[in-house]
């Protein structure tokens, strides 16, 4: 009998927000979206994404320990390990923001130009924001950084560690603060005599996203302590303003392919095909382009085999996905696994297992990994939202969804896994990218699943309005990121329609 312990999710995602104390949890069950923290661990969808005062609630990434017990026959069972009855879990987190110290983001081919630093005239040590967190253990605890991370001598809050009632780690991130205010920002701008800024590289700026490894020491009475060093990772990302729309390719798709996971020989319509179809059709709520409503939502027909009409519909839908959708989303690619799934489905090789009302899935380790990364976009890595092109590197993973501890090379640049690695090449500050990169052209868009473009302002609206109405500049987005609306289901609980809610009246739609 052997026991193995792992932290789940392998890669968790927190999100920024300016609410002092109110937060919700990152998705843990596939298909359910973010969750409220409940005393009995029952899954409850988030009610509001802002607190009572209109501040954006942060999203906490919650980490758990699972024990895998393999018996003599090779059968493995798993159970969660929680604090209590003598069992203690001590968590350790490293977090850093290295964006300002990094080389410039150029494109997917050159995600970091080490010869062109974002801030060449400033010492690197002054640019890396790296707070220090003491370990945390026990129930309902909070640990804040001591000392705080600093950017050019000024403290920058990157977040705090908390534990829930069962000693699980909850990582909460920063408050969405980017600065300073008085420097040029955005493509083409620049400090006189210095190179031009771009959407991704703005000299002198910082923000408060971050990333880093998670470690744990598990003490179970009667057993040797288990030390899991850098066994999981957290990414603190910008808010997801449309949490019920997903990228057509997600970070889960990207990371699973990069780690060598293979698609099923016979894909399941419900589990493999439907998420892609729903993601594509779901973008209608965050973009007004006609392609999204051209994708059929007749899932019963789309999951039917052996019928000429159904066969033609599958073929037409495949064409729309592979050609029109792929050319509408900038820098988009399906993974090879997704192409396998879609091509097999179109050819009639799939399980016709569509269920319009699936039950709430049970909590499983694999499901936690899938839920965590499915919320994040897996394309448009220019540079992306939560993470960038680095996530496509097979060498970054020691196992599926486990960031390696070993040095690896990507795009010709050595990468040493450490706190700040994953987010260092993301746009600095993130709001610059958010402001500029809604559309690449009138017919090509970036990531509407996270950063809406046009939204329905209420359940009766017939046309969509620009999500960034009343946000005319980069600085305005920095100042008012928390005033923007979230695209949520109305009525609550129903899957659709998804309309804008919780928008602050100070930034109206004209």
């Amino acid at each position: 009998m052997t026991k193995e312990y792992k932290i789940y999710p392998g890669i968790g995602i927190s999100r920024l927000g300016d609410s002092p104390d109110s937060f919700f949890l990152s998705p843990e069950l596939p298909g359910l979206g973010p969750l409220e923290l409940t005393a009995d661990d029952s899954p409850k969808s988030v009610g509001n994404y802002k607190d009572a005062n209109g501040f954006v609630r942060r999203q906490a990434a919650r980490f758990r320990i699972f024990e895998f017990d393999t018996d003599g026959t090779g059968r493995t069972t798993s159970r969660e390990i929680i604090s209590g009855s003598g069992t203690q879990i001590e968590w350790r987190v490293e977090l850093a923001n290295e964006k300002s110290a990094a080389g410039k983001f150029i494109n997917e081919d050159v995600p970091e130009d080490t010869a062109k630093l974002r801030n060449p005239d400033v010492a690197q040590s002054d640019l890396v924001i790296k707070p220090v967190y003491a370990p945390i253990s026990g129930a309902n605890q909070t640990v804040t950084a001591s000392p705080d991370g600093k950017f050019r001598g000024q403290a920058v809050y990157l977040g705090e560690l908390r534990t829930d009632s069962k000693g699980r780690l909850m990582m909460l991130g920063g408050r969405g603060v980017s600065g300073p205010r008085d420097l040029p920002i955005g493509s083409g701008s620049g400090i006189p005599g210095h190179p031009h800024n771009t959407f991704a590289n703005n000299e002198g700026w910082h923000d408060d996203v971050a990333d880093g490894p998670i470690s744990a020491t598990i003490h179970i009475p009667g057993q040797t302590d288990q030390v899991l060093t850098n066994a999981a990772w957290v990414i603190v990302a910008p808010p997801d303003y449309a949490p019920y729309t997903n990228g057509i390719t997600t970070l889960y798709d990207v990371a699973s392919f990069a780690a060598g996971m293979k698609p099923p020989a016979t894909p399941s319509f419900q589990n493999d095909v439907l998420p892609i179809l729903k993601a594509a059709a779901g973008l209608r709520w965050v973009s007004s382009l006609a392609i999204w409503t051209a994708i059929s939502t007749d899932y019963l027909q789309l999951s039917t085999k052996g019928d000429a009409t159904a066969d033609q519909l599958r073929s037409d839908t495949l064409g729309l996905l592979l050609n029109n959708v792929a050319s509408t989303l900038a820098n988009f690619r399906f993974t090879d696994n997704q192409l396998h799934v879609l091509n097999n489905w179109a050819n009639g090789n799939f399980l016709s297992d569509f269920d319009p009302n699936p039950p709430t899935p049970p909590l499983t380790p694999d499901g936690i990994d899938r839920a965590s990364l499915s919320q994040a976009v897996g394309g448009g890595f220019f540079p992306g939202i939560e993470a960038g092109i680095l996530m496509t590197s097979p060498d970054m993973y020691s196992a599926p969804f486990r960031v390696t501890n070993k040095l690896f090379t990507f795009k010709g640049v050595p990468r040493n896994p450490h706190a700040g690695l994953i987010t260092r090449n993301m746009a600095c500050p993130w709001q610059s990218d958010f402001f500029e990169c809604e559309k690449q052209s009138e017919t090509t868009v970036w990531w509407p699943a996270q950063r809406p473009i046009e939204v329905f302002v209420d359940a009766t609206a017939q046309t969509q309005r620009p999500w960034t109405d009343s946000i005319p500049t980069h600085q305005a987005l920095i100042d008012k990121f928390s005033k923007l609306g979230f695209v949520e289901p109305l009525p609550r609980g129903g899957p659709e329609p998804l309309v804008e809610a919780e928008r602050d009246p100070s930034i109206p739609h004209p």
Binding site: T114, T198, A290, G319, A326, S327, E442, T443
Partner: protein, 481 residues
């Protein structure tokens, strides 16, 4: 009627300067008269004052336009440069697209994007010297005599890549040993066929000289001053200096020119002699130049470096031969050495593609005909620039997919030969007057409407039909009446 010479046709290449101190190279000893035109020059034998630029000028001669002022000479070189940049970016883009999802496609696409930036910066330089922007293409010359290589749409293969390398190469002596070992047989083979490739970088070197204030070597590119160009031949004043603040494309013009997506291509506004010198130098260094001086981008791989990395990559040799055609054309476009696209739908889509490409060029030209400091003009300027990017990033990309999924020949298969975009210009000649450009754009859209209807009548699949109808909707939005 006096035939107007195209810019390229006015350029002559001066006699190579004697290299009395050189020993004949092994290449020359081959006894091949054309191979003797190339000299493998070693640092031990070359007078140090010449440097690598000098060796290239010795090999090819010095580009000159006789009988004109320095300003006029610069205007001609820049027009020629624009035509070449346009041609190269199309050729590189076609080559990149032919690679499908190969990792090399991204690299070649990056080079094409950088050439797009060079094209825009050359437009700014043209306006700076008082000329009009030019979106003509090298093959529109009746008798192009100084092409890097004859304009041709070719899928990327070893021989094609060798042409790209020859176009972008710095002098042999400035190469690292591994690159020199790679290039020498390519040069030998090319010479033995009598093909002379004139590096465009020498044009930029001459331009740099013309733009210098005097004969004093500059900090950036001192070799130019020591390369034997005519002393004192410099431009005095720049008639279009004010255009830097008005008509030129400006990276700071909000997101109009997608500056952030330029893949580090050289894209600058030209408002002074110094800005012009810097831009010319950077373009030369980034792509074509025989530039040995350090640039502001010391580790930015040049186009030569990027092409060489592909050429030397073991997986490149293992790539399956492309199923893309060479020089595709549709009926009445003519290309004796090309491949006619005879599949009816593919041919119809190629016509749509050609028209969208022409709309893209006309939109760019129209955008630059409006003053960005005028409150009224900036709206029109931005509108036309957005049309250009819609075509570039939307229409052309979508049509590429639709076309390449079809067989080239009626009754054929994609596996045998896929159809591919034809990039035909139909003799497009863009006027300089803003009002005339508006008319050209209307006419192009009217022609596009007919092309789209022809393609729709050829019964495309759902995906292509969606693309075509989307274009119809876009065009109705542009010209509601």
């Amino acid at each position: 009627m006096v035939r107007q010479l195209r810019p390229w046709q006015k350029i002559t290449w001066g006699k190579p300067r004697p290299l009395a101190t050189l020993r004949p190279s092994p290449l020359a000893s081959l006894g091949n008269a054309v191979a003797g035109f190339w000299r493998t020059i070693t640092k031990a034998t070359l007078p140090s004052a010449l440097g690598s630029l000098g060796s290239a000028l010795d090999a090819y001669g010095s580009p000159t336009v006789p009988g004109v002022s320095a300003l006029e000479e610069a205007q001609i070189f820049l027009s020629a440069g624009a035509e070449v940049e346009h041609a190269l970016l199309v050729e590189y883009l076609y080559a990149a697209w032919s690679l499908g999802t190969s990792p090399f496609a991204d690299t070649v696409s990056t080079i094409a994007i950088q050439e797009m930036c060079h094209l825009i910066t050359v437009q700014n330089l043209l306006m700076f010297v008082g000329s009009q922007p030019s979106f003509s293409r090298q093959d529109q010359d009746e008798a192009p005599c100084l092409d890097p290589f004859p304009f041709s749409l070719r899928p990327l293969a070893k021989a094609v890549l060798e042409d790209f390398l020859l176009t972008e190469m710095p002098p042999l002596e400035s190469m690292i040993a591994g690159d020199r070992v790679t290039m020498e047989p390519i040069l030998r083979s090319h010479s033995s066929q009598g093909n002379t490739v004139h590096p465009v970088g020498l044009i930029y070197a001459k331009l740099y000289w013309l733009f210098q204030e005097d004969d004093t070597p500059t900090k950036d590119w001192p070799e130019v001053a020591r390369s034997g160009f005519e002393p004192g031949r410099h431009i005095g004043t720049f008639p279009g200096a004010a255009s830097g603040a008005t008509f030129q494309a400006d990276p700071q013009e909000g997101t109009t020119w997608h500056f952030g997506s330029t893949a580090q291509g050289v894209f600058e506004t030209i408002d002074s002699r110094q800005a012009a010198l810097r831009a010319i130098f950077e373009i030369a260094a980034q792509g074509e130049g025989p530039v040995s001086a350090p640039t502001t981008q010391p580790t930015e791989p040049s186009h030569f470096r990027r092409f060489m990395d592909i050429y030397q990559d073991p997986t490149f040799a293992g790539l399956s031969p492309s199923n893309w055609p060479i020089n595709p054309y549709v009926a009445n476009q003519g290309a004796p050495s090309g491949t006619q696209v005879t599949h009816p739908l593919a041919a119809a889509l190629c016509r749509v593609f050609d028209r969208r490409y022409q709309i893209l060029l006309a939109s760019l030209r129209a955008s630059l005909s409006h003053d960005r400091t005028s409150a009224q003009d900036i709206i029109i300027r931005t509108k036309y620039a957005s049309w250009a990017f819609e075509e570039m990033l939307g229409s052309l990309k979508a049509l590429l997919g639709s076309i390449s999924r079809l067989p080239c020949q009626q009754g054929g298969s994609v596996a045998q030969r896929a159809a591919a975009p034809t990039f035909n210009l139909d003799g497009l000649a863009l006027p300089n007057n803003a009002a005339d450009l508006d008319k050209v754009l209307l006419q192009l859209h009217q022609s596009a409407a007919a092309d789209i209807n022809t393609a729709l009548a050829a019964r495309p699949d759902a995906s292509t039909a969606f693309t075509l109808k989307g274009m119809q909707q876009t065009d109705r939005g542009r010209f509601p009446n």
